[in-house]
């Protein structure tokens, strides 16, 4: 496992940075926010990204993807984090692409992967049912019914859930909430009868959905993977998402830190630049160190997922934990060091603070993942 980028990856990073600088600066995010668009992202921008191969970044070439792997996906997520880019990248191109390419039937692959690569169709993953992440606590019931299943229950905190064309749903086919066994993944079309969706605007101006399932009927071929054995596939899909969230937060941390250092080096107080105060210099130097750690764990997680190492899940949990902490610290210190300006909506630093809270919560917060690592290490 290498901890350095290869040439292709370096080029991808540069291309992503260049494209987003030009087409998706933070001002674009502000416009989107103030327009109160319910989708929460620009379809045109997403089409352009798809044309650049980003939508199919995890999709095998035979299905029209650019097959860049997790390191590539992470690079894009990191750059998006820097720019606060709103897009269906995580839900469609990371979560759904991983679900189909790793666990989909041949028919599912052939049908869905090309659509993902083309950026035509939107997907969502519906896991959580309570305010805190807990995939094993899946309770939404899927009962056998005729040729297929009938789904009843509720999901929350579903990224792109309100605009997706298809939703991958974790449901309970046997056992009880809390059991890892007995969970099955279903692919549900958004327009199916009995499925109600409502969008919630979040603190970071992103939109997530709450879903209500009332006797939603699906065929047997809607199952992704095997019945009752969906927990491990789900965890693999989630890990792809978690690693990309870590990458996104690394981008947020990096950008808020750089903005902050630039601000305090410029701004004067008591006749000298604020950045010349040693107390702030030492805090900035500490923060730089933490961000270096964040970058390293993020890359380690992404690489390990690509090479499918045994430790991949643990490095991913490590990244979600450590980067979550670092990004929050960077945003908090950023707001404080911006002084009064940090409190105003006119400055960007507050946007990063908000974004980091949401990304940190999604698919398990730092405490949840850290505890998981400790449990696995038997202490």
């Amino acid at each position: 496992m290498s901890m350095m980028l290869n040439e292709d990856q370096e080029m991808l990073r540069e291309a992503a940075a260049g494209f987003l600088n030009e087409n998706a600066p933070v001002s674009a995010f502000r416009e989107l926010r103030d327009s109160n668009s319910i989708g929460g992202f620009s379809r045109d921008l997403w089409s352009e990204m798809a044309q650049m191969g980003w939508a199919g970044i995890l999709v095998p070439e035979e299905f029209g993807g650019s097959e860049f792997g997790m390191v590539g996906a992470g690079l894009i997520a990191e750059e998006m984090g820097k720019h606060l880019t709103a897009s269906p990248f995580l839900a469609t191109s990371v979560l759904a692409a991983t679900a189909f390419s790793k666990f989909g039937s041949e028919a599912q692959k052939e049908h869905h992967l090309p659509k993902i690569s083309a950026g035509e169709t939107l997907y969502a993953l519906a896991v959580d049912e309570g305010a805190k992440h807990a995939p094993a606590k899946t309770a939404l019931k899927a009962e056998r019914s005729g040729n297929g299943f009938k789904l009843s229950g509720a999901k929350t905190f579903v990224a792109n859930g309100h605009v997706a064309d298809h939703i991958i749903v974790a449901a309970r086919t046997s056992g009880e909430a809390g059991d890892e066994n007995g969970i099955t993944l279903f692919l549900v079309e958004a327009e199916t009868a009995g499925l109600k969706r409502s969008a919630s605007k979040m603190v970071d101006s992103s939109s997530f959905a709450r879903l209500q399932f009332e006797d939603v009927e699906v065929n047997a071929d809607a199952v992704i993977g095997e019945v009752d054995a969906g927990y491990e596939p789900l965890d693999t899909i989630l890990n792809a998402g978690r690693a990309c969230l870590a990458a996104e937060m690394t981008g947020c941390a990096d950008q808020s830190f750089n903005m902050t250092v630039a601000y305090i080096n410029e701004r004067k107080q008591f006749g000298v630049p604020v950045g010349s105060f040693q107390a702030l210099q030492h805090r900035a130097a500490h923060l730089h160190t933490e961000i270096e750690l964040a970058k390293a764990v993020t890359l380690a997680a992404l690489q390990s997922l690509d090479t499918e190492e045994e430790s991949a899940w643990r490095l991913t949990a490590l990244a979600k934990t450590k980067v979550g902490q670092v990004a929050l610290l960077a945003a908090q210190e950023g707001v404080q060091m911006h002084g009064g300006m940090g409190m105003t909506d006119a400055f960007d630093i507050g946007l990063y603070l908000k974004r980091v809270r949401v990304a940190g919560e999604l698919f398990g917060d730092e405490s949840w993942h850290a505890n998981r690592i400790a449990d696995a290490l038997s202490f």
């Binding site: 805190k132 605007k201 107390a279 908090q332 404080q336 009064g340 105003t344 006119a346 507050g350």
Partner: protein, 394 residues
């Protein structure tokens, strides 16, 4: 029966008779508060009656002298009044910076005429005040302020700009720091003046915060005429007044945060919202560990607040201790709100939740300003290093 006991019984009876039912819900938030002033619209007949009745008793500012609209109560009596109001959940009749900030300054530094002119309208809630200290580019560095007051004999002409003026767009009058001597060293040459916000040349512009609300304004002065009779304390000695008020404010903020720890504990909220395991412990063990530390620090902070307030009551001059409280209280409060967000998970990340309108996330963002306004945490640490620890060059 002691005089205090008699006072308590009479007070209880008066409150029972005079506090309108809708003013007894114990509400303390900025949203439910009566701010008073020329532009105030009472939210209910009860709110109006309550202010009028309390003002008539002098109980909106119970310890102020009767001449200035107060009731001249002793500390002990004022405490009894507070106790009895708390007992029935009575709201404050009204509140504004005139009571908490300008009042103490005028009582200490004002002339008899100034006290008689300005204090009674504050007591009756007729005029709402705002504070003009910070300026763009000055931030915590109050001494470098540049708003200029030119001497024109019996009045000044004020030009300049203030920022972070709380509710300036809704205030009637402002107490304001202006520079009257540009030659003097930074802290000298500053004066403390009062003027009507309706004076020609005063304009305000609200600042939108990351929490979505706009409690602050930018305030602009363009050839504003200020009568010299409204200069408080001597010319070029406004810094003394400001320093006195800052110390006062810092201590107050510390107490405010102290009170916040008096409600439901973080642990209780987490146990309720997240649930507990078989041992009765919050199910997320590492979140629990952070909650425990925050509760430990909150309990410790409340013992320090108690100790400081006893020393203050005993007449000890606290000086830079207010910086200790301001620093620790605001940083602790930020930590507590981060934890509330972690407890709440995705539910509390919603910005406009049907139930509570995303209040927890707005409060979380709002706390970030506590360690900035009224002197940043860094400024407080510097004050401690300089005035308490007397470190070289601090």
């Amino acid at each position: 029966m002691s005089e205090l006991e008699t006072f308590r019984i009479q007070t209880r009876a008066w409150l029972e008779e005079n506090c309108p039912p809708d003013m007894r819900d114990g509400a303390v938030s900025e949203a439910t508060q009566c701010w008073g002033g020329r532009n105030w619209t009472f939210t209910s007949e009860g709110q109006k009656l309550w202010l009028e009745r309390m003002a008539a008793k002098g109980w909106t500012v119970p310890t102020w002298p009767e001449d200035y609209g107060g009731a001249g109560l002793t500390k002990d009596e004022a405490e009894i009044l507070q106790d009895e109001m708390t007992a029935i959940g009575a709201r404050k009749p009204h509140d504004n910076f005139g009571i908490t900030m300008l009042g103490p300054a005028l009582l200490k530094f004002g002339t008899q005429e100034q006290k008689l002119e300005h204090l009674p309208p504050i007591a009756r809630g007729e005029l709402r005040w705002c504070q003009g200290y910070s300026e763009p580019g000055a931030g915590s560095d109050l001494a470098s302020l540049r708003t200029k007051a030119e001497d024109k004999g019996d009045h000044y002409i004020v030009n300049g700009q203030k920022i972070w003026t709380s509710y300036a767009d809704q205030a009637d009058w402002i107490f304001c720091l202006v520079r009257t001597d540009f030659e003097a060293a930074k802290h000298k040459g500053i004066s403390f003046v009062l003027f009507d916000m309706a004076t020609k040349g005063v304009t305000t512009k609200p600042i939108k915060l990351i929490s979505g609300s706009s409690p602050f304004c930018e305030t602009f002065f363009d050839d504003v005429r200020v009568e010299k009779v409204n200069l408080v304390h001597e010319e070029n000695k406004g810094w003394d007044v400001a320093k006195y008020l800052l110390t006062h404010e810092r201590g107050m903020i510390g107490e405010v945060f102290g009170n916040m720890t008096g409600g439901r504990s973080l642990g209780e909220i987490a146990a309720h919202e997240i649930g507990v395991d078989d041992a009765g412990r919050v199910e997320e063990p590492l979140l629990r560990a952070k909650l425990v530390q925050a509760e430990i620090d909150s309990l410790a902070f409340s013992t320090l607040l108690q100790s400081v307030s006893e020393r203050a009551e005993a007449g000890e001059s606290l000086g830079a201790v207010s910086s200790v409280l301001k620093y620790y209280g605001t940083e602790l409060n930020k930590r507590r709100h981060e934890l509330l967000m972690e407890i709440g998970g995705s539910d509390e990340l919603e910005w406009s939740d049907e139930n509570d309108n995303g209040q927890r996330s707005k409060d979380w963002l709002r706390t970030k300003g506590n360690s900035i306004e009224g002197g940043t945490s860094e400024v407080q640490l510097q004050i401690i290093a300089k005035h308490i620890l007397q470190m070289p060059g601090a």
